[in-house]
Point group: D2
Chain length 366, copies 4
């Protein structure tokens, strides 16, 4: 089992109470009056201030639960040069709060904690015939979950915007017919109830990763969520968005690395594969990779999918289309069914090497 030693799964005791120590760095020319005012302000919030006077700079270490203090204000207090929090701002999503990796169940498919799932399907649902044909091929190849967009985020208002509820029905029935749980994107708070009714997992797209009302609304359901990393989101931002969902009571969040904005036009985005082990260190939530959107190039997808699995990803999300030439959206970045089948076999071999179990097991890929 290749990954036995990688520090993904720290053997820690029970989660420590969330909290943070904060360091306040003072300006060179801070006056004693400013310093006294600051200490009073801090101690009025129930914290203790430990002053450390250096030769050139003075700093204050805060002792206690810093959440009692509005750190943003402290930065504006005269004499303060900087405020440095020591613990991460996310609590429920952190490893410290939940040392064991979470396992998220999407129907009979498991993601995380040693289970690896493949999510596949077309960018958009285009017709029942097309979706059934694709579903049959990915099922045969060993995919666990069927994806397809009924509401599509399109840069241009003149582009195909998705089939809407009609598409959701086709997705649900196709999933049932082929024994594949289904996932689809929700783009608007007004759609959450509708989408919740038809799917097994709700996707939040990269462009909505910081649509906080949408996150909150989804957090009030108990549906598993596929939370895609925003194009300019740090890993901390991603975990803070997960925290929005978790803080509403829905703990079924699966993170997804799908590339961030980069400067090289050769690929659609920059595939930040290091975010996979990083999320595993910082958080208990599973993380999967989406090389289709990360690269936008079918000729790079297989290598990048395998790289994600090698880095510890708990799943792979790939777009598959049997007639990319006729696709209504992003056809150019989809794999053909035969390419996908080959890739699924390789993912399965790679999973075995890194000590992961394909979910669901026993399929064609195994």
């Amino acid at each position: 089992m290749l990954y036995s030693w990688i520090p993904n799964y720290p053997a820690q005791g029970p989660g420590r109470p969330p909290g943070a120590t904060v360091i306040i760095v003072l300006k060179n020319d801070v006056t004693e009056a400013q310093l006294s005012h600051l200490v009073e302000h801090v101690e009025a919030s129930g914290l203790k201030a430990n002053i450390s006077r250096g030769t050139y700079r003075t700093i204050i270490g805060l002792i206690g639960d810093e959440r009692k203090l509005a750190l943003e204000h402290v930065k504006s207090i005269p004499g303060v040069a900087d405020v440095i929090p020591v613990l991460p701002p996310y609590k429920l999503a952190s490893r410290e709060a939940h040392p064991q990796p979470s396992v998220i169940s999407v129907g009979h498919v498991k993601i995380g904690g040693g289970n690896l799932a493949i999510i596949a399907g077309p960018c958009a649902i285009e017709s029942r015939e097309r979706l059934e044909s694709i579903a049959a091929s990915i099922k045969a190849a060993g995919a666990g979950i069927l994806r397809g967009g009924a509401f599509k985020p399109r840069t241009s208002p003149y582009a195909f915007q998705g089939m809407g509820e009609e598409g959701l029905k086709i997705l649900r029935e196709t999933g049932d017919k082929y024994g594949l749980p289904v996932v689809t994107e929700v783009m608007d708070t007004r759609q959450v109830e509708l989408v919740e009714r038809y799917t097994d997992m709700i996707q939040v797209g990269a462009r909505n990763m910081q649509n906080f009302y949408l996150l909150t609304e989804i957090g009030r359901t108990q549906k598993p969520v596929l939370l895609k990393r925003g194009m300019s989101a740090t890993v901390t931002d991603l975990l803070m968005s997960a925290e929005y969902i978790l803080s509403q009571g829905n703990s079924n969040v699966v993170l997804c690395e799908r590339g961030v904005k980069g400067f090289d036009p050769a690929t659609r985005n920059t595939y930040d594969v290091a975010s996979v082990p990083l999320c595993h260190i910082l958080s208990h939530l599973p993380i999967i990779v989406d090389p289709s959107h990360a690269t936008g190039r079918p000729d790079l997808i297989p290598a990048c999918a395998l790289a994600g699995v090698a880095a510890g990803a708990d799943g792979v999300h790939v777009e598959v289309h049997d007639k990319p030439e006729e696709a209504k959206s992003d056809g150019a970045q989809a794999l053909l069914p035969a390419q996908f089948a080959e890739l699924a076999k390789q993912i399965s071999q790679m999973a075995q090497l890194v000590g992961k179990k394909m979910s669901p097991g026993g399929g064609a890929a195994a």
Copy 2:
């Protein structure tokens, strides 16, 4: 008049019909059969295909209205290496469609076409007293429009989320009391009607620049819109988002440069001031700058505000707070009223130099 010659305002005739020529680049090893298939496909869409055989590569130039053809499909046709559109994908937002600069009226304040307005106020509405105090000071300094958030996009679910409708009421009444039209951010489609009722201008924040349902909903109103550039949005992306609003019938869009994601942690974002003349070349829509969010540092805001005006911006958006120490959101990046008054005076002088008129005129800043 400093800007008489800058190519912001091309003296063109009436807008040409929207349309685009497209170039299809073929692969090295394209077969004659593939080429025939491709030409048939193109001509079936009512376009003409002009084949140009090079020594090493063959290309096809499309003649006619390429919108009849789904370009995304063409990329997937065997033998095709690349598809290069020659005209921009936005139509209504383009200079070509509307050669004269648009002037957007927000109450009695004008933005664009030689009019320069200052939008100022606190990040969030915190209380009537606080907002009135700030409104009084910015009015005296010459600001035209009062800003303040009632719904706040916060990275953390544990941070202050805004006063909601109560905040909207305070904003409306404070604006009326001081003769300042008001602008506030809308974050969710369900809020559009409510926000529309209370404000003179609706702001779309950077995180929602590609929330397409929200853009569509706002496009159905006739309220002026302040559309902020997303953190990872190209100028083309920004204009495409404007196109969403325009395509619904609302042509009152003001663009806003507020910094994009960059690698230098010294500033909160990277202030891309070149987007100002670039938007003026590509589009008829006004563009203002927001140095508060672009830099996140009060010590850089004045210089960056003036840089924006010098680059041709049609307005400046600045956060002002009289007690940053007590601000519930982003206090650390706000100017104090006295700093703002100084800056407003300088903006006014700079506006005169570059041949712009402060709107509304006759205020303290003039």
Copy 3:
């Protein structure tokens, strides 16, 4: 053999003569006189101009060897909107020029074409004792090549700058003692001869990737070169820098992905693993990965190293130090010998899965 089907190694015929077709896009308002002038200019260079008049735009396809024409000038000719080259600007480094993957020999170690090598060692050479101790441990673990810096690029002039020639001697003798070919960085044209004398492979660091005099000087030797990707270099830029070396007659270039500048401070750089399959598609040169510099975090290095191998990398470059606490440079990003030994074993297993042979074979890692 996992990678049999990945399009890394296209089954092409002999390399075609280098060349490119170029497309000239004309401005909307181009006049017939401008067009005639342009065609004359092009044809005076011995090329043919194929004019394609669209409804809204006219384009010209150039037929012949476009290198006869200074494309940069063409952009400035009145009436020209854009000039779009169709083939890449690198010739010798391209797959088209050399369809089979190159195998580079560094002493008895092979890199590329199915051979995978591990380069390991400390950031800087600090003393004979330290280097020998590290060399012994990496040799035992299965590394093929010993690295160590004698000249160090340091951001601060006050930091340790390397041991210079004394360090080179220690490196050479240690390599010989343990049967490990050695690689070290050269930072200045004046050092090339010296470094060439002592090492088996010359490293060009990220900060010097576009130091064109240095590339030219190294191109005049026959030493294998480890060419690291610059922090803001596209893959095309990297291949153009390789072209500098190749065009001088030295074809022994190994590319290295070591992370590019990104916006997330969680990692030192952004590890762009997609560049590995991309380089394999575009070029015949081998490419290795350097997760030490890409991430700057020992807790991310193993996962990222394996991701690189899974993506098809021809080697892995890792910093190893037995007393990071006492390292004079970058100690914080080094693996301990025991961690490295574990990783080397995993790389070896992964190599087997993807159909690569460890070079040299028969070592402890196999």
Copy 4:
């Protein structure tokens, strides 16, 4: 005088001795033994360790001159989570070391401290006739310094590489003929002596900003240096590179913002105008802007040049060419002499508004 209040020129006392306080953050699970070991290590270096035990974390504040301690080592000591320096790593370049703005003299032209100079000329020196013609026009328009490349950094080995020493001679003689001090780029340590002989100012290009041997060699001369910001360099990196030159005894450094790597292909680079006030806050060195390289588009250069001056830049660097169509390098980004003359007039007006004096004074632009 517009800039009287901007915090560019803090009224400070004499420079304080360089130094820094450092904060060591300990891991959650640090043991008492590790803590003791760490404190011993620190105190052995002559510093005092001030321990501050928080509820969840413990931190240590270092008192004394931290340069006695190798901070990089400290990060690797067991139990240490992070090491946070409080003062910047550059000393001689900092405002703290030298509170008054430096004025750099290039021949009779002054840059900094209220003096604003225009540097103009072609990208490359192509012939005596061409350079004289351009020099005459920029002199008439009010430029202070003539630029022109004799050694050119070109991405492609097949592109024009510059005229070498012959070009230097032409540059020198043309500068003398028109009374313009001259600046040219040096790319290799072996050229420093040659270039020093012919020019009044030495340029370090963006690609060589971290060529530390070159910086050191130039630091040993007393020539004024134009140090361009690297494409992926933070402002701190830029100041550290200046520190290299200053630490060798050459304090005549002028910084230059020329755009950093960004994601929007609409401009060649992202023009980070906020770096201008930022450098003025952090350093006493003058900073000029180069909108030619920052944008790569003549239609954006004037607006961006004025933005730079409005932001406080001490100079503007613009490429000018009278026959861009025939330019051997970067012709497409040059202004025509008439466009430049118009811009120079506007810069002069803007300079007056912001309280700067054109240097040299009395020219055509005034």
